[in-house]
Amino acid sequence: MNRESNELIGRYVYHVGRHLPPERREDVAQELTSLIGDRVEDELRPGESEEVVVLKVLREMGPPSAVAERYGYERRLLIGTSSLPAFFKLAKILPLVILALSVLSFPYADGFTLSALAKWLVSYFHSVLLNLGVLVVVFVVLEQLSRTQAKPQAEFDPEKLSAPPAPFEGGKVRPAVLVAKIYGTVAVLLLFNFYPSVVGVWTNAGGARFWVVPLSAVGVHVPMWLFNAWLVGHILLNTEVLRQGTWTRESRWTKVGLQMLGLVVFLVAIWSSHVGQLDTNFLASVGLAASDPRVKALSEGSRALVLAAGPVVLLALWSIAKDVRRLLRVTGSAA
């Protein structure tokens, strides 16, 4: 089979795979490639262009989404087979994330009474059910939207299919890791935007069993619009990589860009904060007297942040440099 034919088949098979769960893509791709090759070989007549026969076979097989649909049970499910693994993974992680948030928001100061525990449990299960419901609705809506977008392809033309992304060294993805990253990022996004009072330094000082010193009270100012843009960028990138089933040069560069943005967010946060400068005026602004026993914990938290800032910046720079060097090396060898 010539290069053009192989390219056409490769494109088609890639697009079929995009509608399948990642773990089934390789196997189905191999089978479809073999099948199309057999058909083309069988239907090719002497003097006939191989490419023309390949196109004829692909047209007869129909749009990639239709072929993928036959490999699954898309019509019977509200959530398509390609989204089901991600849905189940998220549905498994969700109760754990909510549990972590619920543990953080438990009213420890009121003590561990039976009634408080019962209220907490009811609230936990309520949150899990509500969030699972939301998750189902989100996946169903996404599924319906993707089907609506796929429908108008009445006249399927295999020549118009886009080429698969260029394979990239180390491009293999681990879906579970990506899903965990997406969920973790969503959790951080929710935490910082809706529960900022639990993001900070935790201590059992000051009389209470646990006492949260919010980041803002330690003098940290987080530029939220920039921070949110950075987190949303991560969610979008990981979702796209999960959908494509591979890392590409473009997605790796995007990751480097996001790492740099993360560094900027961190530096801006540190720069515009009162970290390490907990003078009497600042303490008074957060309603604490210098003699307050909680100030010790606050000062320790603030100093820890200052000490952590240096290594964090160095680690981020090292990670960025490593990724850039690898990307440049791959680009150089491909050129």
Binding site: S34, D38, R39, D42, R70
Partner: protein
Amino acid sequence: MWHTVQKADQSGAVPDSLALELRRGALVLAALAALRSEQYGYSLKKSLAEAEIHVDEGTLYPLLRRLESQGLLSSRWVIEEGRPRRYYKITNQGQATLTALAGEWELLSKALRRVLK
């Protein structure tokens, strides 16, 4: 989709969906019977076509996978003429299912003949 040979009669052509529904179950029987000897997907398609059972790849291949996941078929990859081909063969469980299905088919066929008289 199974190609419907639509023979127009006095009441018109057989709707695709009805013909498909009627033949869907029979396709499992046909595939299991044909795979008593090991074959790869495309050769199976052709051997079925020779028996006037026309089925397209989009239906046949997912069906083979389903039967394999049910333990009725086994498969292995073989490199032939520089191309990997997946060969399917009926398993012992598949053979037992085939015998049972063939019996069901006979009963159904006789019953339908009586009804259609």
